[in-house]
Amino acid sequence: MEVRLTGWRTENLRGGLRNLDIDLGSEPDRWTLIQMPNGMGKTTTMDLMRWTLTGRELPAATVRSLRADDHVTKGMFEIRLLIDDTPIRLQLDLDFRDGSASYWTVSADTRGGGRREGRKLPAELRELLKPALTELFVFNGELATQILDLSKSKAAEAIRSLYGLDTLDAVTERVDALVAQERTRASSVTRAVEQKGITQLQNALDEVKTAKASLDKQHRGAVTRLAKGEKELDRLDQEINARLSEDAGVRAEIELIDQRHKEIDATAGEFSTQALEVLRRPPHVHPALLARLQNLGGKLYELKLPETISREFFRELSDQKVCVCGRPIGHDERKAILDGADRFLAQDQISVINQMKLALRESKGDPDELNRLISGLQDQLADRQRLKSERDRLTSERIAEGDEILARLGQDKDALKRELDTLRETVERLTTRDPARQRALRLGWETNVPLCDAELKVRTGRLDTATKTRRFALQGESLKDLVKATSTRALDILRARVTASTNDKLSQIMKTEHIRIARIGGGLELRSDQVASKENASEGQKLSIAYAFLTSLLAEAPYRLPFIVDSPAVSIDVASRREIAQLIPDFFGQMVMFVISSERAGFAESFYGRKKDVRYLTIMPQGGGTADIQYGIEAFKDFHGPESVA
């Protein structure tokens, strides 16, 4: 990507910037020298360029300080660029009344005049144009000292900014945001997303698993014992019967009881079957239910016919000469039949509703039938209980007569029944799914298998969520480490590359004292042939080193940027100026240099020999904040201005 500067424009700004329009041409020359006296707004112009390129927020006091005079309420700065040969204008609108500033972009490829609020630059360029980098190519002469200052980090910042390493580091912020989102999402399930919390969740899950295993074991044991106990009970009953049957009289009574027992069971079975059948027919269950069903059938919509098969009926009827009621069908009747048919037609599914409606309306039943059946069933159960009492009486009488064997069998049976009752209670406690029974029995996951299964599911879910979140967080940390390692390693490689390139240039500039860059830390660490650590350099040497560094940095960068520099040679001697003027220009695709008249000697005059690709502008004040712009080398050479730096 290549960025070139084609001009800038000011309106109602202080100094000589009341109404200035600098045009560098639609195809700007490679080198532009702009000569203007102090007080014309060089420094302000450089600031405005940096702010507009970076989109910096401006304090109200700064905005108001730019005001040309009290008569103007608004001002504007515009910088014109070619980005890969596409023209684009960035504008800074200033409102001096409220101290506000807003940025705008004008591009030819947008509708409605192409003016949109904001810095609408290509994404990678927008990211690139940060203050740390912009200060390097819209160059502040004071930065030369800062680049060399080890206590500051300008040099490293410049490399990081230019090669996008700072953008790479921004990934860590995105990772943190993603992990935070994941934690927020997981917090609805569990607050444990750190390893300690996960261990606690694992322990909690293990606790439930242990309880579940214990409950399953208890259940299996109870069921097995219950099955054995019931067989044992049958065996005891048989032994008791056999013992009782040894007496012929008792045996006859028992046979009668057994016979009666079978009859009762058969009758009770019939009542049960009939009762279940009645329960399947709601009109028979209760008089109130029957009344409500019939009421519902009456309230359903008026009977309608399915449209597909019934419309034809009306059509055929209208074609008849006589109606089904015997009345003749004329033109009016025919029209009435066809027009009125829709009132009786509905979607085809209506036939199902019709059937339901008829069935409901005609609901019939004997609502007392169920009561009779239940009453009969209760009688059978009472008879059965009486038979049982009769059998017990026979056993008791024999025991009272001294039958010890029968007494022992009876005791064994009673003990076994108590044990079986306890086992059945245990099985119910272990297996009931009825929430009401679970509450009544005060059951929890520690004592009830279904509740334990539910708790197991909940705790498994919590652990899974926490583990997944923890894993995600660890993945984030690892990714951040890898990004940081890549960024650090890339910076080291780039530092070495820029150091070598800078030293190559310094070897051409520094003829008297061979100063070199030892390493790029935060700033530039210097050495010379004489000393390993060169801490003091002259202003000229500092500027030379800074240019060598900047040209190395910008010339090899992935983006080609214009180099705009204020007073590029004012602090160095004439001999060094000539060397710098010979060396620097070829490193940049475009250079725009603000010079004062004293810099012509040695520096600006070195460009006079270049026959093409050089543009000269001379800006002279005309009073009242206005200026006159002279293009060409003659006006440039003839200009005489103050010799001090702005």
């Binding site: 994404a123 990678e124 945001a177 993603l178 993945q475 890549t486 890339a490 080291d492 780039l494 590359r497």
Partner: protein
């Protein structure tokens, strides 16, 4: 945009030292770096690379 050789070299060095990571992750990581350098990435790109990173959820220290 072509990645600067310095960054490619740094990537090679970093990924060579990243033991236990799959080729799929390494490929995704390179792509992510390329997207980030051109400011052309979204959270979903970062998430995908994160999720392809092999980590061990170890026992408590």
């Amino acid at each position: 945009m072509n990645i600067d050789p310095a960054i490619t070299e740094a990537l090679d060095s970093t990924l060579a030292a990243a033991k236990g990571q799959t080729d799929d992750f390494k490929k995704r990581f390179r792509t992510l770096v390329s997207l980030v350098l051109t400011s052309n990435y979204q959270d979903a790109d970062v998430r995908r690379v994160m999720e392809s990173l092999a980590v061990t959820v170890g026992p408590e220290d």
